[in-house]
Amino acid sequence: MEETVSSAGGEFLLRDVVQEKHGARLLDGVSLALPGREVTALIGPSGAGKTTLLRLLDRLDDPVSGAVLFHGRPVTEYPVRELRCRIGFVFQTPVMFPGTVADNLRIAAELAGPERVPDSGQGGWIGELLRAVELDPAIYAERDAGRLSGGEKQRVSIARALATRPEVLLLDEPTSALDPEVAERLMGTVARLNRERGHTTVMVTHRLAEARDFSTHTVMLEAGRVVEAGPTRQLFENASNPRTRAYLAVA
């Protein structure tokens, strides 16, 4: 039985996906449709399989069985580098490449190539991207990326992921290392980018307030299985599954 968070069908479709690592089953037959152009939050206790699921969407890992479809085609049928340019990934701990903030964005644009980033030869796009993540280009563009604060680094990683003009933005607990105020501002940026750019956003979060306030759809995972999935408001106000209700109540 396929859980769906949108009757309109999904940008991503997972069919009976099983994932294992070092003998442990991380995903246990997940079937799920993730809607396009929406913000979907993956929630659940630690070890539920949220990050594991997110990594499959970008083919950072492949499942041991089942299929992951992107626009109706298995992700394995896309050239992997093209797929990863079309899907931006923001990791839990931001990694800055050596050099300035602008260097970090240039690397991403070069990797995507002139077909995806036609104006990368001109400087204006760097300022535009930095402004999109609410960093002043005049202050940040030439700063050493390695010396930024955690919140600033995470904004640069989002800008870098956006530099390849992705259709999808995947975020793996992007605010876990940030204090609540910085985290809330960052999530506001993520939600605004989703509205303005119209890309699909899928984010893993442990902070239920983030899922409630910034996502349109929510998937509750536990022990590698989908417990419940649906519109965020419905899931938070009237969860049908007792496990979801218990998790939301405790968390």
Binding site: D62, R84, F97
Partner: protein, 266 residues
């Protein structure tokens, strides 16, 4: 082609077994200090000294035999044994599964040391007798010894760099980078780690160290200027052999960190 070694102006002082016994007194100094400070190496020094005597005497007899019979296949066999021993030592030092690292190191050592030896023997020294063991065996011994260290350093450093830079490598992959691009910094650092001893060796040779080959030739009565020219050949030969071997190791070993779908293994 280097000029032939001129005959010695003075006779070489013979080293008798009794003289070796006198030299062993120096090892006893090390044994005594180890015992006095109770650092637990006294037994190691004794066993090591005995092994050194047995191994070197055996090698001496093998070389006497090889020089006397002068058969090409025996020379090649000796070179292969040296290569196998060096490859095993190199792989033993690397923290990686043997089935992964052995084919990489053995191929890199074979190509890196083999091509260097052929170039030096055929192009630089222009040996008339291509399998002359008096040249090939000592030259190959130096080449394999250094290539062995270079291969081990390169592989070990690449493994630790890839482990330490896992998040960075994956961040590159997630942006659509090729595995080669994603691991370029790790590869550069591993290669540098393997080559720095060669660069340092070139910098200090003759100033801080008088290399063994040069010292040996001078002791054997060769002109110091000829010994120096041989040593220059050796220094250049070692730089080339180490660089070629280490480059093959890192470029091949790097591929083992990625799956066919360009994902990080493990």
């Amino acid at each position: 082609m280097l000029a032939p070694v001129p005959p010695s102006a003075e006779p070489i002082i013979d080293v008798s077994w009794f003289d070796l016994g006198l030299a062993a007194m120096l090892v006893l100094v090390a044994v005594a200090i180890s015992a006095w400070q109770r650092i637990g190496l006294a037994r190691g020094f004794v066993v090591g000294a005995i092994r050194a005597v047995v191994q070197l005497v055996l090698v001496g007899y093998v070389l006497v035999y090889l020089f006397a019979v002068d058969r090409w296949w025996l020379v090649l066999l000796a070179l292969l044994v040296m290569l196998a021993a060096a490859t095993k030592t190199s792989t033993d030092r690397v923290d990686a599964p043997r089935r992964v690292i052995l084919p990489i190191t053995s191929t890199a050592m074979l190509v890196g040391t083999g091509l260097t030896l052929v170039y030096v023997a055929a192009v630089v020294l222009q040996l008339e007798n291509w399998h002359n063991p008096r040249y090939l065996i000592p030259l190959f011994g130096m080449i394999t010894g250094n290539a062995m260290n270079g291969a081990a350093l390169a592989a070990e450093r690449l493994g630790s760099e890839m482990e330490a830079r896992r998040a960075e490598v994956e961040a590159y992959l997630a942006l659509g980078a090729s595995p080669a691009r994603a691991s370029a910094d790790a590869v550069r650092r591993a290669l540098a780690a393997a080559l720095i001893p060669s660069v340092n060796g070139l910098m200090v040779v003759g100033l801080v160290t008088l290399p063994g080959m040069m010292t040996g030739q001078i002791l054997a009565g060769a002109s110091p200027l000829l010994a120096v020219r041989y040593q220059i050949v050796v220094a250049f030969m070692l730089a080339g052999a180490v660089a070629a071997t280490a480059a093959i190791v890192v470029l091949w070993y790097r591929k083992r960190f990625f799956t066919a779908a360009e994902q990080l293994r493990g």
